[in-house]
């Protein structure tokens, strides 16, 4: 009984410590990026036939740096009443269902090329690739920031809210 109680107490303390750490300590850049990606969906408008009416799919193509974090972030968000689902793909094949595609890993350039001009919000990370999608993460001043290639977005038929553009480090206009 007392052991159970002690172990419960310990667990509670550990949980409190963890919570405090999460709130206080440096949240990892990756976690921030995982939190950002579902939020992009709110500021992007897809051409009507592209995304259907079901849940919006967030695809991770190639390496997956986020682990569970992206799933949790996506689960807590919704866009216009549509829920978000995370799909993990090894290549651009089957990416036509994706609304957002985070492309990472050594084949980033090829994957982007393979995605062609589909109405997909492509997201890349400067940490692993110099190839840029529509949104390109960068660490500037110790904070996660991003570039937006609005020209590419328009080429894909996407419309990006000016509010999001306002947050970008740089915007590539056509």
């Amino acid at each position: 009984m007392s052991w159970l109680r002690a172990s419960f107490l310990l667990g509670a303390i550990c949980a409190a410590l963890l919570a405090a750490g999460a709130a206080h300590a440096e949240i990892s850049d990756t976690a921030v990026k995982a939190a950002f990606i579902p939020k992009f969906a709110r500021y992007v408008t897809w051409p009507p036939p592209a995304v259907g009416s079901g849940p919006l799919a967030i695809c991770v193509i190639g390496d997956d740096p986020f682990g569970n974090a992206l799933d949790q972030a996506a689960a807590s968000q919704s866009v216009d009443g549509r829920s978000l689902v995370v799909k993990r793909l090894s290549s651009a094949n089957g990416a036509s269902v994706c609304a957002i595609a985070f492309v990472d890993g050594s084949h980033t350039g090829e994957t982007l090329a393979a995605l062609g001009r589909q109405p997909i919000l492509t997201v890349t990370d400067s940490r692993t690739s110099s190839q840029r999608g529509v949104i390109h993460f960068a660490i500037i001043g110790g904070r996660v920031r991003f570039y937006i290639d609005n020209a590419q977005a328009q080429a894909r038929g996407l419309t990006i809210s000016s509010r999001l553009l306002a947050l970008a480090v740089g915007v590539n206009q056509r």
Binding site: V32, F36, K39, R42, Y43, Q77, S78, V79, D80, S161, R163, L164, A166, L167
Partner: protein, 577 residues
């Protein structure tokens, strides 16, 4: 009508009405201010809310992505508004993302630690939402205007209301003052009219009293006059009556008979002088004006004056040369003698009588001839001097003067168009100056002899017209005595009938008669019988004194036998020649 009624009422109840109006204006003014204030507050709150919502909308993405730089940029946009006291953007957990605080150092505080706004500020907090979820909070705090500044904003309106109220109040007060002044004025006017009425009454009473006084003075003067006349005439009548009584006795010697007859004649002459003086004072004597050289007249009187003045009085005369005058010679001589005899009586111990004839300027610009008679006698006190021209006023003992002498002087001078001036100095003497108007004629008449003579005359047929039976019979007797044939008529009408039936040589008519008077009769006769001479006789005639006899001879009653006889001779000679 109602409006007029209101205003008529308004004049009376003006103070209350004006007070109410002034209060209404004040209440309305401050009501408008209050309403403005409420509207302003609501509008300001709405503005603050809108500003906060705009902020919340603009920072949605920044909050969503936890972007402090973008948040700060959005917040900083509010710096341009000087009334903004605090702007802050917080994430879902309440951590500050961006804040602007110009003064209080709250820029880095999280939402939970943000102190409540001070009283001078108004704070709005609105949620920042994204996709229907609250992702943060936007806080907007704006300065509440200080009371003094709000009052300043309304001070113009308030001042206007106060001024309007003041104007109304001032007008009201002025109106009240004016009305009070009007009331006082009307009261004063009323008092004035009352005192005026009182004054008018007093004037009336005074006029009455003066009338009564004048009446009593007139009665006194009349009493003096009638008493004087009665006294003098009684004396003369005593002589006449007594003499006549004696004459009626049969066994009277011829010399005594003549003596008493002369006494009667003398007394009658005195009585005639008396009545002529009375008429002279009344300015109603028939004057016989003729052109007279004053210097010559006075020079001719010096012998007479010497005899009248006596030995103890020296007479000096000076003649500066003067204009001729047209006056009655006998009256002028009487006037000079009257003044001289009064001068003599004023110089009981002797002295000098100066008679100066000169020309003096008169008030109207024309010159007047002046005869100034001065004595060195006792003079008069002012009271006596003011009464010397009253008939029968005398300072002499009874029997020594009639009190009519200076009255004659006054009456003669004024009737002749002149005046009498009296200057007197008690103890030093008196100067009486007779002023007579200058005449422009040149033919001087010769002085006539004093002694009447009865001229010889032819027998004539004479018509005597006289309404008084006694006088008529007397005239008939006189003329019959002179050897004339006389017919008597008692009225002008009867005389006219008689002249138509019978030829007369002369008509001798009284002037004043009932019905046709002497003047009208003579005019009528001049028309009907141009050659028939008419002699008029009168004791007193206003008509002749005023307008003359039209060139016909006039003899004055009482007339002497010689006068009547001479007039008859003159008349018949005139008609024959």
């Amino acid at each position: 009508m109602k409006a007029f009624g209101f205003w008529r009422g308004g004049w009376r109840t003006a103070p209350a009405t004006i007070f109410v109006v002034a209060v209404l204006i004040l209440v309305a003014g401050f009501g408008i201010i209050l309403q403005n204030e409420v509207t302003f507050r609501a509008s300001r709150d709405r503005q603050a809310m809108v500003a906060a919502q705009v902020l919340a909308g603009s920072v949605t993405a920044a909050v969503d992505f936890g972007d402090p730089v973008a948040s700060q940029q959005s917040v900083d946009a509010f710096r341009v508004n000087p009334q903004v006291r605090y702007v802050g953007v917080f994430d879902r957990a309440g951590h500050v993302l961006g804040a602007y605080d110009p003064s209080r150092g709250r820029a880095r505080l999280d939402l939970a630690k943000l102190p409540p706004p001070p009283g001078s500020s108004y704070r709005v907090a609105v949620p920042v939402t994204s996709a229907g979820q609250r992702i943060g909070t936007a806080v907007y705090e704006v300065e509440r205007e200080a009371v003094s500044r709000r009052l300043t904003r309304y001070v113009v309106m308030g001042a206007l209301a106060v001024m309007a109220a003041l104007v109304i109040a001032t007008l009201g007060l002025a109106q009240t003052a004016l009305r009070r002044a009007n009331r006082e004025l009307s009261e004063r006017a009323e008092a004035l009219s009352q005192s005026n009425e009182l004054l008018a009454e007093q004037i009336e009473e005074r006029a009455k009293a003066e009338d009564q006084l004048r009446q009593s003075q007139k009665m006194q003067a009349l009493g003096q006059l009638t008493g004087g006349i009665a006294h003098d005439f009684n004396n003369l009548l005593t002589v006449i009556q007594g003499s006549a009584d004696i004459l009626t006795r049969d066994e009277l010697a011829e010399d005594r008979r003549k003596r008493f007859a002369r006494a009667i004649v003398q007394a009658s002459e005195n009585a005639a002088v008396l009545t002529s003086q009375l008429l002279a004072f009344a300015r109603r004597q028939p004057l016989k004006p003729e052109l007279i050289d004053l210097s010559a007249l006075v020079a001719g009187m010096t012998d007479l004056l010497d005899r009248t003045m006596g030995e103890r009085i020296r007479i000096e005369t000076s003649f500066e040369g003067t204009c001729p005058v047209t006056v009655d010679r006998n009256q002028l001589q009487s006037a000079i003698l009257n003044v001289a005899s009064n001068a003599r009586d004023a110089m009981a111990d002797g002295g000098t009588l100066r008679i100066a004839v000169s020309t003096v300027p008169s008030g109207s610009g024309e010159s007047m001839a002046a005869v100034a008679i001065s004595d060195t006698g006792s003079g008069m006190d002012p009271d006596t001097a003011s009464r010397i021209f009253e008939p029968f006023f005398t300072t002499k003992k009874t029997g020594h003067g009639t009190g009519l002498g200076l009255s004659q002087v006054y009456g003669f001078a004024t009737q002749s168009g002149g005046d009498v001036l009296v200057e007197t100095d008690r103890g030093k003497g008196t100067t009486v100056t007779l002023l007579l108007p200058c005449s422009h004629g040149t033919a001087f008449a010769e002085a006539r002899g004093d002694e009447p003579e009865i001229p010889e005359q032819p027998r004539a047929e004479i018509l005597v017209v006289e309404d008084n039976e006694d006088v008529g019979h007397f005239a008939e007797t006189l003329l019959t005595e002179l050897g004339h044939s006389v017919t008597l008529a008692t009225s002008g009408e009867e005389a006219l009938e008689l002249t138509r039936a019978h030829d007369f040589d002369v008509v001798f008519s009284d002037v004043v008669m009932p019905g046709m008077g002497g003047l009208r009769l003579s005019e009528q006769l001049a028309a009907e019988k141009p050659g028939l001479p008419v002699i008029l006789a009168t004791g007193y005639s206003q008509e002749i004194a005023q307008s003359g006899s039209g060139g016909r001879p006039v003899i004055l009653k009482p007339y002497r036998l010689a006068t009547l006889s001479q007039a008859l001779v003159d008349a018949m000679q005139g008609s024959n020649g």
